[in-house]
Symmetry: C2
Subunit: 202 residues, 2 copies
């Protein structure tokens, strides 16, 4: 797959074309965030992008390619974990950043795509790729923590899910705002639990 989503590379990609493409992809993200992939309407994309609908149809004859390209373009909106040397702090900051990011259209679009991924291999691959980068960063950060003696050695493959899962749960249910205190509680319980269940004091 060369170029942007399998088509021959544009031969005049600057100026207006770039503007049109960017506006279409931005509109696509917003509408997928609101209505999901199945609810996406080309005419509404064009209207919101301030572009003629033929521009959308001709550039992205396949709606899944449109959605995938839109998701990948904004992949950087997905927050990642940092490294201050203090695992607890990095995790807490990470959770707070995730909670905030869940308000962004980009991130909500990824959530919608995650639902749709069940029925579409193309979307599934894109979503997996998006999450893979974040997941790898968390794994690297955890490995560092083990090296530094902040965590006992062992299988920490569930750690990421154990700290971020509750954030998604609370925010998506939308029952209450997610506070920094919530993040601290989650991280403290999970880290203490991992240490307490380690085979021996390492």
């Amino acid at each position: 797959m060369a170029g942007t989503a399998g088509r021959a590379p544009a031969r005049r990609p600057g100026g207006r074309t770039a503007r049109v493409r960017a506006q279409v992809l931005a509109a696509t993200v917003e509408l997928v965030a609101r209505d999901g992939i199945a609810g996406l309407r080309y005419e509404e994309v064009a209207e919101r992008a301030g572009v003629n609908k033929t521009s959308v149809y001709r550039n992205w004859p396949d709606r899944e390619e449109l959605v995938v390209e839109a998701l990948l373009r904004y992949i950087d909106d997905l927050v990642s974990i940092g490294d201050t040397g203090d695992l607890r702090r990095d995790l807490v900051d990470f959770l707070v950043a995730i909670a905030d990011s869940l308000a962004k259209p980009t991130v909500r679009a990824v959530e919608q795509a995650t639902q749709a991924a069940r029925d579409s291999p193309v979307v599934r691959r894109a979503v997996a790729r998006v999450f893979e980068e974040r997941g790898a960063a968390v794994r690297r950060r955890v490995a560092l923590a083990v090296e530094r003696g902040e965590l006992p050695p062992g299988d920490h493959s569930l750690l990421g899910a154990m700290v971020t899962g509750p954030v998604h749960f609370v925010v998506n249910r939308g029952l209450r705002p997610f506070s920094r205190a919530d993040a601290e509680r989650i991280v403290d319980v999970v880290l203490a639990g991992i240490r307490a269940t380690a085979p021996q004091r390492w």
Copy 2:
């Protein structure tokens, strides 16, 4: 709001009418599970239900009322937590049951509705009501555990999110199957973490 979703009660609700209603609601759940609320098409509902589309339009002029009624009808598909006297076992069983239930169209429809709830008060109320029953059951079970000395007293409002959040996370990302061992690990870490972070050995 009397009757089913605000309309005057049907005066001939038996036999064929009941059959039509049930088939439409079942079809609605399946299609919402696949395409979300915004992607729901009345004609496809009618076709899948083996029913004329006018029956759908006349019974449910408002698509949100159709979706809400469909969700509430299958509310019992949402698994709840049991009480064997052993908190760890009850939680593990609960998590495994949740993971299994996430394959059901009914439950996936609720997940889709949860996304859409952001933009629709009607849907939001229905989803909140659906989850409220399950959440209350977990809170009761946790309160029992505290009474029995299985858990230290304190604020356990995040416990439900901390054990079920990771399940949703793993299953929805769909990277790998969710095993009973995963459930055990999650519950063990969370329970150990809660005990380890309790103010004193209670």
